[in-house]
Structures are given as C-alpha cells and as structure tokens.
Amino acid sequence: MIPLTFADKGTTYFIKRIQGKDEARRHLNNLGFIEGEEISVINELAGNLIIAVKDSRVAIDREMAARIVVGR
C-alpha cells in the first residue's frame, strides 16, 4: 500500500483508503474516487497527477494525491 504520489505511470491500482473527511474528499467521491475503485496515472507534472478513474480523467495536486492510499 502506497500513497498515490508514489504510483507508477500506467499501472492499475485499487484505492484502499482516502484520508481525511473534508470537502476535498467528498469532491473526490463525487468524481468516482472511492475505496475499491480502479485507477491509474496518465501523467505527472511537478507532483500533480492526471488520474484515470472510471471513464474520466481527473487532475489532482500532489497534496491530494498523498492522501489517497492505493494498492495492487
């Protein structure tokens, strides 16, 4: 289990947990980031990530990514 910030590009991961209970987390939920969901990293730029989740692409910053714990 690793934070999303350490994920490899292109590999599929499962979300184990999203830390925190704030607005940002709810926003992520609304966008499809929930426990058990399959995601992968499309690209990374200065720590910010573009994530493929369900059929959409969501850009998140590295602080946010650090709160998403994923595993294989």
Binding site: T12, K21, E23, A24, R26, H27, L28, N29, N30, L31, G32, I34, E35, G36, E37, I42, N43, E44, L45, A46, G47, N48, I50, A52, V53, K54, D55, S56, R57, V58, A59, I60, D61, E63, M64
Partner: protein, 781 residues
C-alpha cells in the same frame, strides 16, 4: 405549462442540449442572491414546454453553491419532470447523480448523450437494459448532432402526462434500509410517499440543510442519530461513505450488463495527447507557443490589420470598394507628394517644410525647399487642384462614416456646436472603440476555441505548481488569459475557482493584465512620449504579470488571505473538435456586448467630456470655447482641483488627471480624452512636452494598474457578491497603482539627480513594498 428541469454533470453536454432545445428562446440570469447562472427557456417545438437548465453538478450534496441551488429548485420549485443528461463516454460516474435524482420521486427521463462518440469508440450501451435497471425511460441522444433530443423531451412530457411516480429501484443494505424506514416514520410521514425517500437518505447522511429545512425537533434528531450510529458500527464506516459506496456498488452491478467497452485499459486519444501536452519538458514550451500564437494572430497580425482598416477607412475618410480605383488614386497621390506642405511653407517665406504622419502624428525633420521643388509643386497644384487628388474621383469610393454623417449634418444645416458634438465627440469617441471590434472578435474566437476543445483545463493543471509559489492556483491563470481580451469575462471566469480566498484574490488581480481597451492607451504613451519604442508595449504586459505575482505573494501573507492552499481537483474533459457553430456563437456573444458597451457607456462619456471641455468661463462670460481655450473649461477647473494628487507621480496636470478619470468609464476613453484636451493633431507634440520619460512611465503604470472600467468594476461586484469586498478590491488596485507610479517616478528622478521631499516618499514606499514581499509568512506552517 410543463416545466422540465435539465440536470447533469459538468461537461456532460448540458449546455449544448439546452441550446439545441431552446434555440434563442432562452433567458439567462442569476439565481437570486448568488452568482450562479440560471437559464430558462421554452422548447422550440412546443411553446408549452419550459426548460430550466440547472447548474452542472456531480451530486445533490449540500456543500457547493451549485448543488444547493440545483437541489433547492428540484425540491421546492416542483418541476414537472427531470431530464437527466448523462455522458455516455463516462457512464459509471454520471450515474452517481442519477441514483440520487431517482430518489426525488419526480418523473424522470435519462438522456445518454454523446452517443456519436460512443459509437465511434466502438462501445455499446444497452439502453433497454439500462432503462429496466434504472426504472425510468432511457433515450440515446447526441446533443451536438441534434439526434434523439426530440424523443427525450417527448418521453419526459409523456411521463408527466401519465403521472408517473418515479420510484428508485435501488435499495441499500439491510441496516441502512432499516434506519431509513425509521426516519421516514419518525419525521416524514406527512410527506407524499414518493418524496420521502430522498429526504430519508439525506437525513441518514446527516445533511444539515435538510435538517434545518424540515425543522426537526432535537429529540427526534437524537433518536434518528442512534439508528445511524448503529448502522455505522455495523458497517464500520461513516454514514456518508456508506451511502456513497453503496451507490457506486449498485452502479457497478448494473453497468456490466448495459455497457460494453471496446478498448479496455488502453490509452485513449485524449490520454495520448495529454502525455505530450502535460509532459514535464514539453508542457511549458507548448503552452508558451500557444499563447504566443493567440497573441500574435489576434493582436499583431489579423487583429491590428483589421483595426487599422476600420479606423482609417470605415471611421476615417473612406475607402475604395474592393479596392477599385485604389491603385490609380495612390499613383496620383504619390505624384502629388508633399505639394501642399511645400507651397504652404514657401508662401510663408520658410526655407524648410515638415510633414506630419497621418497615423502616428510624428513630425518629420525639416526638409529644405529648393526652387525646383517649388516649381514642380506649382505644376502639381495646377494638375490636381489646391487640395490635391480626391480619392472620390477614382474608382468606387465609399465615404467613411464620419464623412457621411458630416454631409448629412451639413445638408440639414446643423449648427456648428452640435456638429462638433456629433463628429468630434460621439463619432470620434465611439468610432475609435468600434475600430477594435475586429481585433476583439479574433481574440474571442481563439479563446472560445481553446475553451471548447478542452485545452484550457490542461493549462490550469500545467501552471498550478508555478502559481502556488505566488499564493494562487493554476485555475487563477484562466481568468487572466481571458482578461487579455476583456476584463469582464476574465473576472467571470473566476467562478471556476472553488476556494473563496483564492477566488477573491484572483478577481482582485485579474485586471492588472492589460485588456484590449488599454492597448490604444499603451500605443499612445509609447508613441507620444517614448518615440514609438516597442519596449513600452511589452513592458506593459510584464508589469501586469509582475503586479499579479507580487500581489499574490503580499496578500497571501495577510490574515485575510492566508490559509492552506486550496486542493486542486479538476475534471479534464476529453479533447474534441469544437463545433464551428458553438465557437462562432461564443465569439459573437462576447463581441456583441463589446459593441453594445461602445454604443452606451462610451457614447455617454464622450458626450460628457466633449461638453465639459468645450464650455467654460472666459472674459466674455460662460459659453462655448475655442480649441485653445480649453484651460478655462469646466473640466479643467474640476481637474485642476484634483490634479495635485498626482503631482508626486510627475503628472499633476489637469488633462492627465481628467483623462485617467474618464478611463474609469472605459479605458479607451483615455486616448479619446487626451485627443480632445491636447488639441487633436498636436496631441503627440503637446504630450511630449507635458511628460518626460519618467512621468510618462508613471502615467502608463498608474492607468494600467488602477481600478478597471465601470463594466469591469460591475463584474467585480457581481462576482464578489459583497460591496465590502468590491470596495476593498478597487481600493487595493488604486493604491497599488499609485505606489508603483510613485516609486518609479521619484526614484527615477533621484537616479537622474533630482532629489526632493518626494524622493523620501518614494524610497519609503519602496521599502514598504519590499518588506511586504519578503517578510516572514507567519501563516505558513
């Protein structure tokens, strides 16, 4: 009248659908009290069907403004049906909202949009199966192509007529349903059956707004609370998460049977483009290239060419239709050459003559007059007459608007003063602005294209980390980019910034970037005071960017704006070619309001300036003044009363003061006002005498940074939604403009050897700014 509510995710094509369904029968306003857009219209094919476009939302939670506005409409305004638009290329995530809408009890129809893209990707959606699973009609549509949209509305109308009561087929797990049943019993038994479910689920999630709205007794709340807690214990998760997860689980369970993807796990075209465009080495260069391209084409090439043509021809003397007769006239004019100037000077006994460039008003070096030249000049005068060749004699000549109007006024024997008002005031002022319309249109076209194709979102992502250093986020850049065209849409673009702090800060600084209206002013300063140096124009943009960056740094360290940077979470829509129609329409919408502004605000202000500068007190009493008596005008008196404020900045004369003030109405006015007050053709000469390089720079800087035009100030007020904040923003801008102007002038003068009391102030101001920039940020962890 049947009212249908259009609901769906952002980027699902809702706006396109709304436009397709209502055509031009739409009314756009704001939801009362908030800056969220409200769109209502009537269905093109049936005037009895009204369509309300609700803001794009991802869920019906009570956390964002858009969500609350949307759900309040759905619960309180009782639309007859809900048309849920769903992005077919993103079905799973979109259905998350659908499951919530289904619980409202309103007749619902699901329209799966972008079916054309789905087909192209080779994916298949089993709409029959989906309809069965969701418990409501499902229609395939492509809002872009216009297919299926009539059917969607027809189904909705049918549902209303048949008085269908929507019941969500989805059940949550045991203990949740148990708690929901309790809640319905305890609190909601008065409500119609089909409405209860949504409220019950919300109460289970501890939705504060619903609790308030239903005015639930504290004891009852506690009672429900125990049920919820029991459930949370059993499922080992918090109530909201339980609901969220179960919704997605439900969707996942039905999606397998309804949605067959062709290319599972492979990179889409969008992904491939993003791999390049957001690549760590290529991202910024590509971005810089795109920016340069937009600026170059809109401002430098096409834009300027079109503006020049408009200013010189349409609003100038006139033009040859399709160029017929143009070359013949030009040959004649060249032969005629400087005849008028030569003869004029010779007759006055001068040995040399000068020419004045029509456009730049530049005065040439004196040219010696030889006898040969005089003789030839006389011959030319014989050939072409005293006034020289008349373009109207060659080919097909269309007189410019001012010429036509002048003819008209002469024909009805209009009084001189009124002629002056119409031609020198109205036509000159408004015409100058309208001359920029072509440039603006090109810029708006580019910006519309960038927005629609999806690249704008990527820009925010690319610049985010850089902007964070200055206390802003990547999303702050888009308003600035849009602001290069016009500050008003730029300020409105700040809506996409979620963090209120960041949004307020961006609104405040967006207008530092020179907008289209400031361009003629920059050109004026550059030409009249700096001899046409190209550096002035470039520096204007850098000054703007610098002001934004410094403002970000300074403000982030103040209590008001401090705080953790807002998290950056943004959906990136798939790239797609925007439809020509949409782009053109967007361009035209913005261009048209630009034109309308010219016909209203600028019109009124040119009349105002004209009147108050051509009337005043002379020896003869009160009356109309000659061009060289303007110092006695009402405007001069008013201006002089305030002009001293700007003396420390080097330009404490009434003309510059008045010009700056008229600039508040519209930045284009600065040029127009200076033109009237500094004597038309002599403007440049007079200005170069009134300003030196430093005061000219400070004058430029002040007007670049100070409060924007009224229209922009209005936009600031609307987006800030608070008079207090608006006042703060405007004050900040004016103070910043003053301080920078002060520093530049005073320290510049000190550098060149003139010390004075002003130098002390200038130095103090500089120390203050440096301190604000570099002091320790006590709010950063």
């Amino acid at each position: 009248m049947i009212r249908i509510a259009l609901v769906g995710n952002p980027n699902s094509g809702k706006t396109t659908l709304f436009n397709a369904l209502t055509g031009s029968n739409q009314f756009v306003g704001n939801w009362p009290g908030v800056t969220v857009e409200k769109k209502e219209g009537t269905y093109r094919s049936d005037k009895n069907v009204g369509i309300t476009d609700l803001p794009g939302i991802y869920s019906l939670s009570p956390y964002t403004l858009e969500e609350v506005v949307a759900r309040n409409y759905l619960i309180n305004e009782n639309p007859d049906a809900v048309l849920n638009i769903v992005d077919g290329t993103n079905l799973e995530r979109n259905l998350y909202l659908t499951t919530q809408l289904a619980e409202l009890g309103l007749p619902m129809v699901v329209a799966v949009n972008m079916m054309d893209v789905v087909a192209k990707q080779g994916d298949k959606i089993d709409t029959k199966r989906l309809a069965a699973e969701l418990g409501c009609p499902v229609v395939e549509i492509s809002a872009l192509k216009g297919t299926g949209i009539e059917k969607a509305v027809a189904e909705a109308v049918q549902a209303v007529k048949k008085k269908v009561k929507m019941v969500s087929p989805h059940s949550f797990s045991g203990c949740v349903e148990h708690a929901i049943a309790h809640i319905e019993e305890a609190v909601l038994h008065d409500m119609p059956d089909e409405k209860q479910r949504w409220y019950a689920v919300k109460l289970f999630e501890r939705d504060k707004k619903v609790q308030e709205a239903l005015k639930i007794d504290k004891s009852v709340l506690e009672h429900i609370e125990s049920d919820i807690k029991a459930c949370e214990k059993e499922l080992d998760d918090d109530a909201e998460s339980i609901i969220t997860n179960e919704r997605y689980t439900y969707i996942a369970s039905i999606i397998g049977g309804c949605y067959k993807k062709k290319n599972v796990g492979k990179l889409s075209t969008t992904d491939k483009i993003d791999r390049v465009v957001t690549n760590r080495w290529l991202a910024l260069p590509i971005f810089a290239l795109v920016m340069w391209l937009v600026y170059y084409v809109a401002m430098v090439t096409i834009g300027t060419a079109a503006t020049d043509w408009t200013n010189d021809n349409l609003f100038g003397d006139g033009y040859h239709l399709f160029g017929i007769g143009g070359s013949a006239y030009e040959a004649a004019a060249e032969e005629y050459g400087d005849t008028a100037e030569i003869l004029g000077a010779a007759e006055a006994g001068e040995k040399t003559y000068v020419t004045i460039d029509d456009e730049t008003m530049e005065v040439s070096d004196p040219i010696e007059i030889t006898d040969d030249m005089v003789a030839e000049a006389k011959a030319m005068e014989e050939k072409y007459g005293e006034e020289g060749p008349d373009p109207a004699d060659y080919g097909v000549w269309v007189p410019g608007i001012p010429a036509l109007i002048e003819k008209g006024l002469d024909a009805v024997e209009c009084a001189d003063w009124l002629k002056g008002l119409v031609l020198d005031g109205i036509v000159a002022g408004v015409g100058a602005v309208l001359g920029f319309v072509p440039q603006m249109l090109v810029l708006f076209l580019f910006l519309a294209f960038l927005e629609s194709c999806g690249y704008m979102a990527r820009i925010a992502f690319i610049l985010d980390r850089i902007f964070r250093r200055f206390g802003l986020s990547g999303k702050s850049f888009i308003p600035m980019l849009v602001g290069v065209g016009c500050g008003v849409p730029g300020i409105m673009a700040c809506r996409t910034i979620e963090s209120e702090r960041d949004r307020r800060m961006t609104i405040m600084t967006t207008t530092f970037i020179p907008c289209g209206a400031k361009v003629p002013f920059i050109a004026l300063v550059s030409g009249a005071i700096f001899g046409g140096s190209a550096w002035v124009a470039t520096s204007a943009y850098f000054i703007g960017i610098g002001a934004i960056i410094c403002s970000g740094i300074i403000l982030k360290k103040t209590k008001m704006f401090s705080g953790d940077p807002a998290p950056f979470v943004m959906e990136l829509p798939a790239y797609h070619w925007p439809t020509v129609g949409n782009v053109l329409r967007s361009m035209w919408e913005r261009g048209w309001s630009f034109i309308k502004k010219a016909g209203t605000i600028i019109l009124l202000s040119t009349i105002f300036v004209w009147f108050f500068s051509f009337f005043g007190w002379t020896e003869g009493g009160f009356g109309m003044l000659e061009e060289d008596q303007l110092d006695s005008s009402i405007l001069a008196k008013l201006g002089s009363a305030i002009a001293w404020i700007f003396a420390p900045l080097g330009w404490g004369n009434w003309q510059a003061t008045v010009a700056s003030i008229t600039g508040l109405v519209a930045k284009e006015n600065i040029v127009g006002t200076m033109g009237i007050l500094y004597g038309g053709e002599e403007t440049w000469t007079n200005m170069s005498q009134a300003f030196n390089h430093l005061s000219g720079m400070s004058f430029l800087i002040f007007n670049l940074l100070c409060a924007p035009c009224f229209a922009a100030m209005g936009a600031i007020k609307r987006e800030m939604n608070s008079g207090k904040w608006t006042a703060f923003a405007i004050t900040y801008q004016c103070v910043a403009a003053y301080i920078v102007g002060l520093i530049v002038y005073q320290l510049g003068m000190a550098f060149t050897g003139s010390f004075g009391i002003g130098t002390v102030f200038g130095a103090a101001a500089l120390v203050f700014v440096v301190y604000m920039l570099f002091r320790k940020d006590k709010y950063r962890i």
